[in-house]
Amino acid sequence: MHDVKIKVSNFSLSYGDVPAIKNVTMSIKANRITGIIGPSGCGKSTFLRALNRMNDLILGVRTSGTILIDSEDILQKNVDVVHLRRRVGMVFQKSNPFPKTIFENVAYGLRIGGIKDKAYIEQKVEKSLQAAALWDEVKDRLHKSAFELSGGQQQRLCIARALAVEPEILLMDEPASALDPLATLKIEELIHELKKKYTIVIVTHNMQQAARISDFTAFFMLGELIEYDVANIMFTKPRKKITEDYITGRFG
């Protein structure tokens, strides 16, 4: 068995008075890819954003329960969210490169972390771009605007940017939903490669994708965790009827 990296217990979240996540308990394993599936609006993004406290930005969000990362409860008020977000990186659904050069995008997290050593930054940028399988495509134009890249490249740039700060966990919210099949394939291969070093939690609305890349799969509906199992079992012998209906596409 693998170590548990994130342990979520009785976790609930509401936007004002509207509950979005209801009493979720699950353990996420280290160096594994955990896929989160479920119909639109079921709380996948909300759950993901709870893992690095990005919901803090939204007014009136209330949480209960605990989320332990390496046995530290990250929901506590006194948790240093800046430090937490360095440990728990995030890649957004819509790739969001900054209007800076490719190099500066990747170096951003290092610079705001107070690193000034130029040689170190250069080396780190190269390593991160290599890890994101983007280096060969951009090494001759590192100082060009990130907006010149294609959609798939931009998303891999965002992955490289997240990797540069050396997180332990990588959260991905439908990272390939806006990409063509070829770019999607590249991202999937990349994610597969990344699990050697990182614990990955990925939201996807694409059933085939979840089946292809995830080791464990969690099925959410209306804010509740309906079923959570090894991906193989989930996609072949789901225990619940409703899960089966969903993964076979009998409802959307």
Partner: protein, 285 residues
């Protein structure tokens, strides 16, 4: 049926176009009139010399200098204050009843008559801060006047920066201020500066706010520090056209002054327009 609609459309456009042309026409007439009456008095001496012989000859250099000085002070005060306020309102302050009141107050400030700003300036800067009637007091009063426009324009500029830039930075472990400083302000600054320049161009031509706070009828010497009184273009224009002992005689000089003032303001507007266009092309790249 069809013809009826085409006809309505034709007259609709005709009417709208006439309205638009009318506006242009008024501006053109105004500028043409001032140019015709005032261009004769434009000369190097007019721009670089002081008035002579009871302001019936010589130039308007002290007034140009005075207006430039108070505008600069207005910028130095208004820009940081306005931009700071906009950052607070847009990035930090929660959307509460209080911030809504603040926002409404700011909007309403732009409707306060300029003479009221003048009186306020007397109380605050001349008397309370003991700046005296001076370039500093007048500049600060004008600076306050720019605030509502600067704040509104700056807030707009901040809103135009995509939320994703802030979130992206925070997700990489930036503090809120780091995210704002490195990933929001650089992209909003152009819009903020454009807004500030435009609001400066609005107040540079104001007479009422500087009337009691430091502008002088006539000064034999240039001011030596910001605590001295000064001459200013709009006030000089007012004197030349209404208060002078030989109004008819100095009329060309008054028109010349008007021309210089308009030129100055157009230059400021032009700077803002160029800056904005430059930023737009930069954004596209």
């Amino acid at each position: 049926m069809m013809r009826m609609r085409t006809l309505t459309q034709f007259f609709g456009f005709f009417f709208l176009r006439t309205c638009a042309l009318f506006v242009v026409l008024i501006l053109a007439l105004l500028l043409g009139h001032i140019w015709q009456k005032g261009s004769g008095s434009l000369s190097w001496e007019f721009l670089s010399a002081a008035p002579r012989q009871g302001m019936t000859a010589g130039g308007i250099f002290p007034a140009i200098l005075g207006t430039l000085c108070v505008t600069c002070i207005a910028a130095v005060l208004g820009m940081p204050l306005g931009i700071g306020c906009a950052i607070y309102l847009n990035e930090y302050a929660a959307d509460t009843a209080l911030t809504r009141v603040i926002r409404i107050s700011i909007r309403n400030l732009s409707g306060v008559p300029s003479i009221v700003y003048g009186l306020f300036g007397v109380v605050l800067f001349v008397q309370l801060f003991k700046f005296g009637t001076s370039i500093l007091s007048a500049g600060c009063t004008l600076g306050l006047m720019t605030l509502p426009w600067t704040i509104t324009a700056s807030e707009e500029a901040l809103k135009n920066v995509p939320m994703a830039y802030r979130e992206g930075a925070l997700a990489l472990g930036a503090t809120k201020w780091q995210a704002i400083r490195t990933n929001v302000l650089p992209y909003a600054l152009g819009g903020m500066i454009t807004g500030t320049i435009l609001s400066l161009s609005r107040v540079a031509g104001e007479t009422a706010p500087i009337l009691f706070t430091g502008a002088a009828f006539f000064l034999p010497e240039l001011p030596k520090s910001v605590f001295d009184q000064f001459m200013a273009l709009p006030y000089h224009l007012y004197i030349m056209s209404t208060q002078h002992h030989a109004v008819a005689k100095v009329r060309p000089l008054a028109y010349g002054t008007a021309l210089v003032l308009i030129g100055l303001i157009l230059a400021l507007n032009l700077a803002a327009i160029i800056l904005r266009a430059r930023l737009r092309t930069m954004k596209k790249e």
